[in-house]
Amino acid sequence: MSKQKTTGEFSKVGKLIFVLEKCNGKAAIGSSEALISPKAAKILAAVSVILLNVILAGIAFLLEPVMAPYIALRDLTNSLMMLMLLFSLLLSVKNIVSVLYTSDDLSALMPMPFSAGQIVVAKLAVSIKFPVIFSFVIMNATFLGLGIRAGMGAAYVIGTVFSSILIPVTGMAIATLLMVVIFKIFGFIRNRDVMVLISGILTLLLTVAYPVFSNLFGRGGSAHAAMSVLSAISDISDSFVNISFMSRFMFDGHIAGLFISIAVTLAVVTLMMFVVKLFYFSTALSMQNTGAGKKAVSKSALANRKQAGVKKALTAYEAKNARRNPSYMIYGFAMTFMWPLFFGLPFFFGNNAIFSEIKLPFHSAVAPLAALFLGLTASCCACGFNILAGTAFSREGNAIHALRTMPVDFKDYYRSKRNFAMWICSLGSVAYVLILGVVCAVTGVVSVGSSWFFLYGACISFLCNSIIINCLLVHNAKRPVFHWDSETEISRKLCWINIVAIIVGFVMYFVLFSVIFMSLFLDKPDVALNKDKITAIILIVSVLFVIILLAIAVAVDRCSVRRAEKSPAEFE
């Protein structure tokens, strides 16, 4: 009777897992939509996994003698286990938040004939499926390939198989434990917009941290350096009880190590289930009913708004509208101001600090060219990473119908959006170029007389901003998306103009460095070149370029209003 009951519960959880996977939009192998028969798809998938295992094991088998002189097998496996634990932990944090808290399916699942425990187990099973399969394939294949070549015994094989399952389970359990406790304690995090804001900030920090740390701790990229990093990770892994005990079992044959490792994983999973039982449902259910905070409009605020002109009022509306969501704050503002962290920082730290090569003060004939490329880089990066212009009309959503009924000229409406985007992008480009100029003049990198180059760079940047922003606005006006599920959905999408701008900015950045290196060459006293002639040519080219850019900017500005007027975003 009890056996029947257990089987029934398992089948219920299995069905629930299937339903949850379907709801999450995940495609199932061998479903009715498969291009071959479902049975063949399943068999082929299994064969493919086995084949992949064999290939990976073969590669590990071949690489073992290459790596052996640099790192011991024990250190290598420990560091790989540590990396796998971190990978499953990070992956589980994302999965747990989306599956447990933001999936919106709890209100639909609660009335169904499933117990609370079954729902939680099914949700956790959905989130752990990928890390376990990934870890099982990668760890077994590589560890066995390495172990067979190194002549390891049965304990190594058993330990490998166990750790390929235990490590992702431990990672998931720790992630769940942390997330459930954090969501319970910090109530503000349950707000989805705040969650997007936090994840955006963390992503930015991680992205910025990578180039900084890789330059600070980079040791030339040799095989010895790479292996010493793995050894360092292996040393850290000793602090993780389950990895260190499993390692003792695999390499020293201590059978207690295996049991302690299993016991640690079981203890973490039990603690996680206990915490989930205590806190999960109350927290998750409180997230199902949320609403926007409302503020009463004061008479004085309305009176002030009336005094401003239509364009000013619309610009103020645009500024307020663009700040209403934290995801806009990240992708519309923060990214515009943070681009120098990605491009600038790596060249100030560690082995790549190329600025130490430049002799001060910097007064080369190619300075106007450097200013030109600096301005272009700043503009392309600030506008490329910015979603304000690219989503200007889509951001209105259903409010566009209300705006269309207002007695507002479309030209004013368009220009208000352009002005606001110009303000923000200019703060992230023109202002940066000017600040850099002031800093360089004060610190003596350039003489005060030569600092007009930065004004030239700022001017180039402003004109380029105008062209890119107008292009982005016309692009969005032609294909506005007024019906979206969430604001985060539109705030994360960069259009092709953004991407082209980023790529051009990146190219300009490298050209800028090439020009700086060229200046180092030209400034050498033994270089027999007519420097006056070069200076004159560069000055003429720079002036011509700014005139052409000005003409293009004015033409694009005039045309873009007309083109946007004929678009679907136009007021009727």
């Binding site: 495609a27 199932a28 192998i29 061998g30 939509e33 498969a34 291009l35 998938a45 992949l52």
Partner: protein, 110 residues
């Protein structure tokens, strides 16, 4: 060496993507929206085409990386022709892809 390993990983991912299309019958959301207007036969052919191209390109990337590794280790020398073969195959696969993909739109169910 490092670049070749990265390219092998990319090749494996591309093969996986192709295999996923065959096993699940699903392409990316954007492409699903594109082929929603196609006939059943056209959609199926388009998916098979995508899967085939991914697998062929993945295999060629891996082949090229392996040739590079073998050259670095001194096992192979003068690998120009060996390296050209995967490139030619990729080029032919892309041309075939575009020709057949254009036909998919006009395919009709019997």
């Amino acid at each position: 060496m490092f670049f070749s390993i990265v390219m092998i990983a990319l090749g494996i991912y591309t093969i996986f993507y192709g295999a996923k299309i065959i096993f699940t019958g699903k392409v990316s959301k954007k492409e699903e929206a594109k082929i929603s207007a196609y006939s059943q036969k056209g959609a199926r052919t388009y998916k098979l085409l995508n899967a085939g191209l991914s697998i062929v390109v993945g295999l060629c990337i891996i082949a090229q990386s392996i040739i590079n590794i073998l050259e670095t280790q001194g096992i192979l020398s003068d690998t120009f022709i060996y390296l050209m073969i995967p490139w030619v195959i990729i080029l032919i696969a892309i041309v075939v892809y575009f020709i057949v993909a254009a036909q998919c739109k006009n395919m009709k169910d019997q």
